[in-house]
Amino acid sequence: MDLATLLPFLVNVIAGGLVLGFVYAIIALGYTMVYGVLQLINFAHSEVFVTGAVVGFEVFRVLTPSPMNGYLKLLIALLAAMVISGLLNVTIERLAYRPLRNAPRLVPLITAIGVSLILQDVLRLIEGFQGRFDLTYTLPDGFSGKFCGAESSCAAVGSTLARLGLDLQLKDVILIVVALLSLAVLNYLVNRTRLGKAIRAVAQDRVTAGLMGIDSNRMISATFLIGGALGGISGVLFGMKFGTVNAYSGFDPGIIAFTAAVLGGIGSIPGAVLGGLALGVIQNLIGVTNIFGGLLGIANLEAIDASYQRIGAFIVLVLILIFKPTGLLGKSNVEKV
């Protein structure tokens, strides 16, 4: 194998990792925002995310026969998923976490796990009554096709990409655009608005924020709303990209996304994005280690195949945290006594 075949291979692996990484990043934001204000690992977030995916599935399913523009369908799916997942997240906080504000820190963690179990079965039941378990997205025409294929108006861009060996589908590009837009809106919301300022104040110090006249409970609800909406977006993007979800699909990406949030520095919004992208790429690179092992003739590397993808991510996390205990972009808190 020479460089000419290996380069496009590597480009594709990294590109695939980045697309996956954007999904992780958006999920990780939901974790990291909630963690920022409550110091709680919201285990139910993976189900909030799957709820978004299920809503997206239902919207696309209902709209399949309609001649509506595909992008409009996607917009409706995204909005519906954002609203439903956001409200669900707020409700969860209201019912399961708020009564426990004064309880030991691990108690809401257990209710979060309980809520996660409940939501999984409820989602399965809702779809199960209609005889469905695995939900396969019916995407508008063209979404699965090549990005800038030969007959489209932007064929020139497509051929340039093809020369680089980059093999992108239209839905990959849509995914990245939607993810970047959400990040931009989130950035504006958190850093440029009064609401964002209040949320940051609550995350930094709830007592002092209270003294400044900030209603911390409302800010926490707002955080859950935003986090849930992001979960909804990521659910639709996940369903669109990978095609099939079921009520239990949230667990694995949820764990990885939370790992990403920790990798980036939990509580840090840019950290979650960076962590998500990094994990996506790292996972894919670990998945192809055996190819390079084969090239270099190192037998031990040849054994590292796709089955090590997930734990590879964890080992990277361990290594990074050993040298940077608060994650890539986490602030290291000075201990006050």
Partner: protein, 384 residues
């Protein structure tokens, strides 16, 4: 609310207890009914339920009130063992249909063997499930070392593959099957260009990149349809049209739905006869749809067959016992020794360790979402 539910069920129990002068005879299913594999486990349960519904009248005539009790093993070996011991304690349960995972079947059958409760597995293909030689463990599906070589032969002879890429789902099922395929392929001199497992259910981009690099003539994926389907969809979207083959885990109409436009050039081996080939299969599919408002998948057919084996076994034991309700041991013997007909997977009789003496493996082909029969391969285990 809980107390009303409780009192209702108590009432129900009382009603059941007093209404029937008949002897209650139960069979159990043991499969995951909750969690990520609940879909497959529920299919098994529902398939068995259909068989029980069919036979209820006949049992009624003979003075037996036939019931099915479904146990949830949550795909967890410890939970499965605990449920198996509960089954052992309920003496009205004569035999078990189960399980989905061989990791559950092995300790569960061990827990049941001393109480002579026969198990007929609708899904476990791992060799060591029956290699342990337990008197109560039987299965209607083909062993890994029967199904694997059959798949390998089809890859080499019919698809003329010279280079094959092997994948598995890192479960006892998928990995065991892929290992047997690999062994058989190597014996036939076919090159195995890649062999790896993945627990990933959604993103296959790195594997697909490797496949694109290696350019195999065919891919064999030991796994279940809901993972393999997603893989195939992404593979086809990446523009790779290489044929994909798998085992009976792919036997499901869902496969084509999940793979969508990519559902083409797929092959799988299964013991269940295709719906068009067998009138009974058509009736079964229709009944299943009517009763459960759900499409019957392969596991439903296997569950149905396993339950039918159990029920015919009980009937045979009933006759052998002088038309009296048989004991568990009699049922166990009747299942191991008997010949069972009218099944979706043909006639079943078991060898000394509970494998089918002979079975026909159907190689199914999916083209553009349509399933058709591609070949029939008779298989026989080494031991008779």
């Amino acid at each position: 609310m809980k107390s009303t539910a409780l009192s209702l069920s108590v009432l129900a129990a009382l009603a059941l207890g007093s209404a029937s002068a008949q002897t209650t005879v139960k069979i159990a299913t043991l499969s995951p009914l909750s969690g990520g594999q609940s879909d497959l486990g529920t299919q098994i349960r529902n398939g068995a339920q259909l068989a029980v519904n069919e036979y209820r009248a006949e049992f009624q005539r003979l003075g037996m009130n036939l019931q099915l009790v479904a146990y949830d093993d949550q795909a967890d070996p410890a939970t499965g063992t605990a449920q198996a011991r509960k089954i052992a304690a309920d003496r009205s349960i004569l035999a078990v249909v189960g399980t989905l995972n061989s990791g559950v079947a092995i300790p569960s059958s061990q827990a049941l063997v001393s109480s002579r409760v026969a198990m007929v597995s609708p899904a476990n293909t791992a060799n060591q499930v029956t290699d342990r030689g337990l008197s109560n463990m039987n299965r209607i599906v083909a062993r890994d070392d029967a199904q694997g070589p059959a798949g390998a032969n089809f890859l080499a002879d019919n698809l003329k593959a010279k280079r094959v890429y092997l994948l598995n789902d890192k479960t006892a099922y998928g990995e065991g099957l892929a290992k047997e395929v690999e062994k058989a392929l190597r014996a036939k001199g076919v090159q195995v260009v890649g062999n790896e497992g993945t627990e990933e259910k959604s993103d296959f981009s790195s594997i697909i990149a490797k496949i694109r690099l290696q350019r195999p003539d065919a891919i064999y994926f030991g796994g279940i349809y809901n993972q393999v389907g997603v893989f195939i969809k992404q593979l086809r979207e990446a523009g790779i049209t290489t044929p994909v083959m798998g085992g009976d885990g792919l036997d499901s109409a869902e496969l084509a739905t999940i793979a969508g436009k990519g559902a083409t050039n797929i092959y799988f081996t299964t013991v269940a006869a295709p719906i068009d080939a067998l009138p009974a299969a058509k009736t079964f599919a229709a009944n299943f749809q009517k009763t459960f408002n759900d499409q019957a998948q392969g596991f439903a057919a296997f569950g149905y067959d396993a339950a039918k084996v159990v029920l015919q076994g009980i009937l045979a034991a009933y006759k052998a016992n002088g038309n009296k309700v048989p004991s568990r041991q009699q049922v166990e013997t009747a299942i191991r020794k008997g010949t069972f007909t009218g099944l979706l997977s043909g006639t079943v009789s078991f060898n000394s360790v509970g494998d089918r003496k002979s079975a026909t493996l159907y190689v199914m082909n999916v083209q553009n979402g349509k399933y058709s029969l591609s070949a029939r391969l008779p298989v026989r285990p080494a031991r008779q």
